[in-house]
């Protein structure tokens, strides 16, 4: 059979109008993500800007809030960098939990909740990810959190080269990694906007004399470095102490060394370019894994996925997977580990201890859900 499509001016106008409508709806959907995440820190936190540490990012999309709380007693300084990869929600949410609950009694706590703020304003193409997800709060209401992309938004940094040559090491990486905050350290004051942002974070670590610095992440359940602590050699003894405590609580965890020849990553470059003890941690996030099935808000929050159950039965996963991997469990893992690190810090250096109160423990977060400890949005 032979169909012939007959077009006229009228059909052309209709098609044009329809494409305008699609563009309008899509544009509205895209731009709806261009809002900064609202957080409600306890009043003890003092708010600064990342550009206070490197003025080169002032007035750019890389600038963002930095929250600092100082205890009565002198002690160590800890940086909690969350949201390096905005498609790893347990990271950002752990930062928010600390911001909205922490009472620092000894030492100083610095929290950056949306480290790659330029990745929170878009989704990864062809991933089918939701633009945000809802967490149920203690009063039964729901609060929305953003779900973004691993890389900086191309409206701020485009195009990237085919090959990204990491400036300080000469290491070759895939071109898109130039937009990946955790491949850009130690950063450059005159580089791309993501490199400048990395530089500002390294400047903050130097200027605030951060003793212990966390970079929180999530990884695919099928990736070998998951439910893991990655430590620079300077942080290794402390990390070993904490790993043992976590393991003694019955929480599966692995300790991995930071490869000396893998450049651009926080756990390597923070240690090599500053005096801090860097720690990177990973939890298992089915919504970013390659084996996932239907991708929606529910998957982000519950981690329930039939394909992952099957993969676990086949022995292909690096996390114990009993049909789900709730976001609350993942936040509980990060929170518990961060607290243990801070508690153990004084055993490495007596004067650098840190005491933080008000943070719920592992069991509480798992049982009540992380939303129970977050402020109501208004």
């Amino acid at each position: 059979m032979n169909y012939q499509i007959k077009g006229s001016r009228v059909t052309a106008c209709i098609l044009l109008a329809l494409s305008c409508l699609v563009c309008f709806v899509a544009a509205k959907s895209f731009t709806s993500m261009w809002v900064e995440e609202r957080v409600y820190p306890v009043e003890e936190f003092q708010q600064k800007k990342l550009s206070d540490y490197f003025s080169g990012i002032k007035g750019t999309p890389a600038d963002q809030p930095v929250f600092i709380q100082k205890g009565e007693e002198e002690g160590g300084t800890v940086l909690l960098l969350c949201g390096t990869h905005p498609n790893e929600p347990a990271s950002n949410l752990t930062g928010v939990l600390f911001l909205e609950n922490a009472k620092v009694e000894r030492g100083r706590l610095i929290v950056i909740p949306t480290a790659n703020i330029m990745g929170f304003s878009h989704n990864g193409p062809q991933e089918g990810h939701p633009q945000g997800y809802f967490i149920e709060l203690a009063d039964g209401s729901k609060r929305r959190f953003p779900y973004g992309n691993r890389l900086s938004n191309p409206i701020y940094q485009w195009p990237n080269p085919d090959i990204y040559i990491h400036p300080s090491s000469g290491q070759n990486l895939s071109g898109k990694e130039k937009s990946n905050l955790n491949r850009c350290y130690p950063g450059r004051p005159d580089g791309s906007i993501t490199e400048k942002m990395a530089y500002a974070i390294v400047e903050l670590i130097r200027k605030e004399k951060v003793d212990l610095a966390f970079d929180l992440h999530e990884a695919s359940p099928e990736y070998p470095v998951v439910n893991a602590i990655v430590a620079h050699e300077r942080s290794m003894e402390l990390a070993a102490m904490v790993t043992m405590e976590i393991e003694a609580m019955g929480i599966p965890i692995r300790l991995e060394p930071s490869p000396k020849n893998l450049h651009g990553l926080s756990h390597r470059e923070w240690g090599d370019f500053t005096d801090t003890m860097p720690i990177l941690m990973e939890t298992g996030n089915p919504s970013q894994g390659r084996l996932r099935g239907r991708t929606n808000e529910d998957l982000v929050v519950t981690g329930k996925d039939k394909c992952y159950s099957r993969a676990f039965d086949l022995g292909k996963l690096y996390i114990p997977y009993d049909g789900d991997q709730p976001l609350s469990l993942r936040v509980a893992r990060h929170t518990n580990a961060v607290m243990l690190f801070m508690e153990n810090l004084e055993f490495i250096n007596e004067e650098k201890g840190l005491t933080v109160e008000g943070i719920p423990d592992f069991e509480e977060i798992v049982k009540k859900g992380v939303g129970h400890f977050l402020a109501a949005s208004n």
């Binding site: 070993a240 790993t243 393991e247 060394p257 893998l262």
Partner: protein, 185 residues
């Protein structure tokens, strides 16, 4: 009078020598598979006031003057990458080191502290290499569910010392080191 003082002094020295002070540095600690699990064992030993000579890339010649070798087994691709070696090179180093220890009469304690998480293709290759050299074996629960360690120890008169987690390896560590003549733990 003076001779008496010297004799007493010498006896005191002998006593110290025999009671463990001379043990400092006589224990070697290494990783087989380049995971950081050996670091955790080092921390446990540190709490017991034992400071071993630690080198995750220890070679046969580094065993000079050592009485005990503690080898912590567990594979890590990140660790191998960090050391700039591959699985086969690491397995060869393990075989050379452990054979040398056996030839020199150095007692070998093999430890696997990573539980179920440190099993799988990579780790198993190192377990199969190292465990047959064990004079004593400490394993954290979860790793021997399929009986791999039992099968590797078959025919040997050694009981596997199983503990629930890394922290509780301090008990069997104390037992083994005392058994091998280390006192004052």
């Amino acid at each position: 009078m003076r001779t008496k003082k010297i004799v007493v002094g010498l006896m005191a020295l002998m006593f110290l020598f025999l009671t463990g002070c001379a043990w400092a540095g006589d224990i070697a600690l290494t990783s087989i598979g380049q995971s950081s699990d050996s670091m955790m064992v080092k921390v446990v030993l540190k709490k017991m006031k034992v400071t071993p000579d630690t080198d995750n890339l220890m070679k046969a010649e580094d065993l000079e003057g050592k009485d005990i070798l503690i080898a912590v087994v567990g594979g890590s691709s990140k660790g191998l990458g960090a050391a700039g070696i591959d699985k086969d090179q690491e397995n060869q180093r393990a075989t050379d080191l452990l054979s040398a220890a056996r030839d020199k009469g150095i007692r070998v304690l093999i430890m696997h502290v990573g539980g179920a998480g440190r099993r799988g293709k990579l780790s198993d290759a190192f377990i199969v290499t190292a465990v047959p050299f064990a004079d004593e074996l400490i394993v954290v629960e979860g790793a021997n569910e399929d009986g791999l360690f039992d099968s590797l120890m078959e025919g040997k008169d050694i009981t596997i010392r199983v503990v629930p987690n890394v922290r509780s390896t301090s008990e069997p560590l104390k037992e083994v080191l005392s058994l091998w003549g280390m006192v004052g733990l």
